[in-house]
C-alpha cells in the first residue's frame, strides 16, 4: 500500500495549488479599474499618423483633446479646448478662443511648466502640414488623414493672435471644417514636450510616450498584451472616477467573449453575431447597439488591368452575391450597400442603380471585353474583425466562390492589419476588401477621404480612381455651406460613382458592444469610438455573477 502514497501525494499536491488560489479575494482594486477587451494593438499612440479606429480608441479618445469635440454619443459639435469661436462672413477665417488653465499630463519624461496655449495648437497642425517641420518626418507612417482630407491645400495660414487666440485662414470656404477640427487626427499635442524632446534628441518619443490634455494618461504598454492608463489627476473637466483603465488586447473574438463571461473584462469590442445571440443567456451582460455610419466595400485597383476597364468593374458588381454575404458574414444584421455613404446619412442617393446579383449580366460584360475565359486576380482581406466587416476572410472566400463561376481565379492575400494597410497604401493589390467608419457625421468624410484625387496620393483611395468631374463635385460640395446645395452636389457625385463603379459596395453594418451591467454612463458613438471619460463602475458583486451561472 505504500506505493499508493506517491500517487495520493501527487494528486493532492497538484490540487493544493489549484485550491490555494481559488480563495482569491475580490479585491477592492478592481472596483476602480475598467478593463476593456480590445481587438488589436494600436499602430501608434499618435492619432495624427494613422486612420485605424483601434489607434484612435487607444490614443486620441483617452489621452488627447481637440479644439472642439463631438457631444458624447452624437455628431454635434461642442466646445472643448476652444471655449468659443468666430467664423468670418466669408467662411474663410476662424478665430478660436482657447480655454485657460488646461494642464498637460506629467509623465516620467516630462513635467509641464505651463498650461495649454496657442503654441500647442500651432505645433499640432504645423507638424502635419509643414514638410520642413522638425517633427514632420519623425515617423515613417506619414500623415494620411491630414493629406487625404486635403488640409494642406485648404489651410492658408494659422496665426497666433495671442496666447489664447488662434486664427485659421483657409484658401476657400469649407463647410465641414469645424467638424474636421473635432476629428481624432487634429488632437492637440504639447509643444513644450516636443521642445524638450528636441533638446534630448529623442524625437520619436512624441509618438510612443504621448502627453496630452485628455482624461487618461498612458502608464504602460506592451504590444499585443495590454495598454494601461491612469486618470489624469489634473484633467480640466475634473478627475475621472475611474482610477485606471486597461485595454486587454485580445484579437480572438471568442476569447474576448470568454473573458467577458468570466468577468475579466467589463466590455468587449466587436462581438461576433453568435456572441450577440448567446449574450442573451447571461443576465449580467447587456448588448448596446446602434446603426453604424460605415461602409464595407471591395476596392478595385483601377491602375492595374483588367480593373482599368469600367466594364470589368461593373461585371464584378453583378457577379458578387451580396445577399449571401450579408446572411453569412453579418448574420443579416447589416444593410446592402450601393453608394459610398450609408442610408442614414444626409444626401444619400436612393436613385442610383440597384445592382442585382446576376451571373448572366456579368458574363455578358466580360464577354464584351474579351475576357470570356476569365482571368487571375488577387483579393486582399484583412485578418482582423472590424465593425463594418466581422469576417473579411470568410467574405473573401465567398467572393472567391462567386467569381469562380466566371472562371476568375482568385488568390486571397492577408497580412497583419497594420502591414495590410501599408501595403494597400502602396497599391500592391488588385482588389481589396476594405471599409470605412465615418468620423464626423459629414458625407465629405466618406467622399474626400476615400474617393478624391488627393486621397490617391495619400493612399486612402485604394481603388486609385481619380475622376476629374467627380472630384470637382465633391470639392464644390465641401466648399458650400448651404446644406441643400451640398446635398444636390453629393447626389450627383454618387451618380458619377455609380457609373464608374471603382468599388463593389457591400454593406453598412450595425455596431454592437457587449458589456457588464456594472458599467454605467457608457455611450456608443455613431463613429464607433470608445470614449471612457465619464464612465463609472459599480462594485464587483461576485454573488450576482455566480447565481447567473446557475440560471444558464
Amino acid at each position: 500500500m505504500k506505493n499508493l502514497r506517491f500517487f495520493i501525494f501527487a494528486i493532492v499536491s497538484s490540487n493544493i495549488i489549484l485550491l490555494g488560489c481559488n480563495d482569491e479575494r475580490a479585491s477592492a482594486v478592481r472596483d476602480n479599474v475598467l478593463v476593456y477587451c480590445s481587438e488589436a494593438s494600436p499602430q501608434s499612440f499618435n492619432p495624427q499618423l494613422v486612420t485605424s479606429g483601434t489607434t484612435f480608441d487607444a490614443s486620441s479618445r483617452q489621452i488627447y483633446n481637440r479644439l472642439v469635440e463631438f457631444k458624447p454619443g452624437s455628431s454635434h459639435i461642442t466646445s472643448s479646448l476652444a471655449t468659443r469661436w468666430d467664423i468670418s462672413a466669408s467662411g474663410k477665417e476662424y478665430i478660436f478662443y482657447l480655454r485657460r488653465n488646461v494642464q498637460f499630463q506629467s509623465t516620467d519624461k516630462f513635467q509641464p511648466t505651463r498650461p495649454f496655449n496657442a503654441d500647442d495648437v500651432l505645433f499640432s497642425f504645423q507638424r502635419q502640414w509643414k514638410t520642413n517641420h522638425p517633427f514632420h518626418r519623425v515617423s515613417s507612417l506619414g500623415f494620411r488623414y491630414f493629406e487625404s482630407m486635403g488640409l494642406g491645400e485648404l489651410i492658408k495660414d494659422i496665426v497666433k493672435l495671442d496666447d489664447y487666440r488662434v486664427k485659421f485662414i483657409l484658401n476657400n470656404p469649407d463647410a465641414p471644417f469645424l467638424a474636421t477640427l473635432a476629428m481624432d487626427f487634429t488632437s492637440i499635442l504639447s509643444a513644450e514636450y516636443a521642445h524638450q524632446l528636441i533638446l534630448k534628441d529623442d524625437l520619436a518619443s512624441i509618438d510612443t510616450q504621448p502627453v496630452g490634455t485628455g482624461p487618461f494618461q498612458l502608464t504602460r504598454y506592451q504590444a499585443d498584451a495590454f495598454i494601461r492608463y491612469k486618470a489624469h489627476p489634473e484633467y480640466w473637466k475634473g478627475k475621472e472616477q475611474l482610477e485606471g483603465l486597461v485595454f486587454a488586447i485580445t484579437p480572438d473574438a471568442s476569447l474576448r467573449f470568454a473573458r467577458l463571461i468570466a468577468g475579466e473584462c467589463d466590455l468587449m469590442a466587436k462581438p461576433l453575431p453568435i456572441h450577440i445571440k448567446s449574450a442573451a443567456d447571461y443576465p449580467e451582460l447587456i448588448t448596446l447597439s446602434e446603426p453604424g455610419s460605415n461602409v464595407s466595400y471591395l476596392a478595385m485597383n483601377t491602375n492595374k488591368p483588367p480593373f482599368d476597364n469600367p466594364k470589368v468593374r461593373l461585371a464584378l458588381n453583378y457577379a458578387i452575391n451580396k445577399k449571401a454575404l450579408l446572411k453569412i458574414v453579418y448574420n443579416d444584421t447589416a444593410l446592402i450597400a450601393k453608394n459610398p455613404i450609408p442610408p442614414n446619412m444626409w444626401s444619400y442617393n436612393e436613385n442610383t442603380l440597384d445592382i442585382e446579383f446576376s451571373l448572366t449580366k456579368a458574363k455578358a460584360l466580360l464577354d464584351s471585353v474579351g475576357l470570356e475565359n476569365g482571368f487571375k486576380m488577387d483579393l486582399w482581406a484583412m485578418p482582423v474583425q472590424r465593425t463594418y466587416n466581422p469576417n473579411a476572410i470568410k467574405m473573401a472566400e465567398l467572393i472567391q466562390q462567386d467569381l469562380n463561376k466566371l472562371n476568375i481565379e482568385t488568390e486571397i492575400i492577408s497580412y497583419e492589419f497594420g502591414t495590410f494597410l501599408e501595403k494597400i497604401k502602396d497599391g500592391e493589390h488588385q482588389t481589396a476588401l476594405l471599409g470605412w467608419i465615418g468620423d464626423n457625421g459629414d458625407p465629405d468624410n466618406f467622399f474626400t477621404s476615400l474617393l478624391s484625387c488627393a486621397a490617391v496620393n495619400s493612399g486612402n483611395n485604394a481603388s486609385f480612381w481619380c475622376d476629374k468631374e467627380f472630384d470637382q463635385l465633391i470639392t464644390e460640395a465641401g466648399r458650400k455651406s448651404n446644406i441643400k446645395t451640398r446635398t444636390q452636389l453629393y447626389i450627383q457625385a454618387q451618380q458619377k460613382f455609380s457609373q464608374a463603379m471603382p468599388w463593389v459596395p457591400i454593406a453598412h453594418a450595425r455596431q454592437y458592444i457587449l458589456a457588464h451591467k456594472r458599467i454605467k454612463n457608457f455611450k456608443l458613438t455613431p463613429t464607433d469610438g470608445m470614449f471612457f471619460s465619464g464612465v463609472t463602475l459599480e462594485p464587483v458583486n461576485t454573488q450576482v455573477i455566480q447565481s447567473s451561472d446557475e440560471n444558464r
Binding site: N22, E24, V29, R137, F226, I249, E416, Q546
Partner: protein
C-alpha cells in the same frame, strides 16, 4: 572535468556558428537584405551612406558575415519595422514570460511525471501501470489547442475557478523589473503585492498544465521504463536483501541512476516547450516570446523574425549545453571519456 566542459563549450561554439550561418543566409532573403541591422536613430535621413555600404555592399561575403557577427555579438539585432524599438530589448521584455511559463510546465511535468512513472514501474504490468501508460499515450497525442480549449471551457467558464487568459489580473499594475511576474509581484511595493502574486500564480496554472502535458507524458514514460530497468539490477536486489525499506531503495538507490536518461529526455523537451509555447501563448493571450514571434510573422516584421529565431535558437543550444554538463555531474560514467 574541466576538459569535458571545454569540449562541451566547443560543441556549443560549433552549433552557434551553424546557427549564425543559417540566420545570416536567411537575412539575405529578406526584402531589405541586411540593411535592417543598421542602428537607425530617430531620424531616417541622417543614417550615413557609409554605414549602409559597410553592411550591405561589402565586397566579400565573409566580410559581411563578420560584420554581421560583430553586430549580433554586441546585441544589435536591428529594429522592429512595426514598432521601431530594438529587437534585442523587445526580446527580453517578452522572453521572461515564456521562461516563467516553461518553468511552470516543467515543474508540473516533473512534479507529476516522476511519481507517476515510479508508481507505474513499481506496479509493472498491473492495472495501475496499464492505466498510466495508456493515459500518457493519450496525453502525448492530444492536440494542444484542443486540450487548452477543453480546460478553459471546463475550469474557467463552467466552474469559474481559473482565469481565461493573460498573466495577471488587469487590476494589478506591476512594474516589470525582472520580467518574471511571480518575482516582480513579490518585490513590488504596491499595497496589493500579495494579491497580485496569487493572481499571477493563479493565471499560470492552466497554461502550465497545457504546455506541460506532452512533457508530462514523455517524462512519465521514460521514468517508468528507466525505473523498471534499474529496479531489476543486482544492486537493488542486494540492497533489498540488506533490509532497506522499499521507499529508501527507490529514492536513494534507484532514482539517482534512473534520473540520467530522464535528464536527457528533459533536454529534448526544451524545444518541444518552445514550439508548444507558440500555441499555448496564443491561446491564453500570454505575452511571451512565442506569441511575439508569431505576431511578427503575421506582420512580416523581418527584423523581429530574424532576431527572435536567433535568440530562441541560441537559448535552446545554451540549455542543452547546461543539461549536458548537469548530466555529467550526475553520472560519473560520462566523465570518464
Amino acid at each position: 572535468m574541466l576538459i569535458l566542459i571545454l569540449r562541451q563549450l566547443l560543441n556549443f561554439a560549433v552549433s552557434f556558428f551553424v546557427l549564425t550561418v543559417f540566420t545570416f543566409s536567411l537575412a539575405h532573403l529578406f526584402p531589405q537584405g541586411l540593411s535592417f541591422m543598421i542602428d537607425q536613430k530617430t531620424n531616417n535621413d541622417i543614417f550615413s551612406t557609409e554605414q549602409i555600404e559597410l553592411v550591405t555592399q561589402t565586397s566579400h561575403v565573409l566580410d559581411s558575415y563578420f560584420q554581421y557577427i560583430s553586430q549580433i555579438m554586441t546585441g544589435h539585432f536591428g529594429q522592429s519595422e512595426v514598432r521601431g524599438g530594438s529587437v534585442f530589448e523587445e526580446f527580453f521584455v517578452y522572453f521572461p514570460a515564456t521562461l516563467e511559463l516553461s518553468f511552470g510546465a516543467i515543474l508540473f511535468a516533473l512534479g507529476l511525471g516522476l511519481p507517476l512513472g515510479i508508481f507505474a514501474a513499481k506496479n509493472k504490468n498491473r492495472w495501475p501501470d496499464k492505466l498510466i501508460v495508456s493515459t500518457t499515450l493519450v496525453g502525448y497525442s492530444i492536440p494542444i489547442f484542443w486540450w487548452a480549449m477543453l480546460l478553459v471551457l471546463f475550469f474557467s467558464l463552467l466552474l469559474g475557478i481559473t482565469p481565461v487568459a493573460s498573466r495577471i489580473g488587469f487590476e494589478f499594475d506591476i512594474s516589470p523589473v525582472t520580467g518574471f511576474m511571480l518575482i516582480d509581484t513579490l518585490i513590488s511595493n504596491q499595497p496589493y503585492a500579495k494579491e497580485a502574486f496569487f493572481s499571477a500564480l493563479h493565471h499560470l496554472i492552466l497554461p502550465a498544465i497545457v504546455l506541460g502535458t506532452i512533457p508530462l507524458a514523455v517524462i512519465t514514460r521514460s521514468t517508468r521504463s528507466s525505473m523498471i530497468s534499474v529496479l531489476s539490477e543486482d544492486y537493488i536486489r542486494s540492497a533489498k536483501a540488506r533490509g532497506i525499506t522499499s521507499t529508501q531503495v527507490i529514492w536513494m538507490h534507484a532514482l539517482r541512476n534512473a534520473l540520467i536518461p530522464i535528464i536527457t529526455t528533459l533536454g529534448l523537451q526544451i524545444s518541444v516547450l518552445i514550439t508548444g509555447s507558440l500555441l499555448t501563448e496564443s491561446i491564453f493571450s500570454w505575452p511571451g516570446a512565442g506569441k511575439w514571434l508569431l505576431e511578427a510573422v503575421y506582420r512580416r516584421d523581418f527584423p523581429v523574425i530574424h532576431g527572435g529565431i536567433l535568440a530562441i535558437a541560441s537559448f535552446v543550444i545554451l540549455t542543452h549545453l547546461l543539461l549536458d554538463i548537469l548530466s555529467m555531474m550526475v553520472d560519473p560514467k560520462q566523465r570518464r571519456h
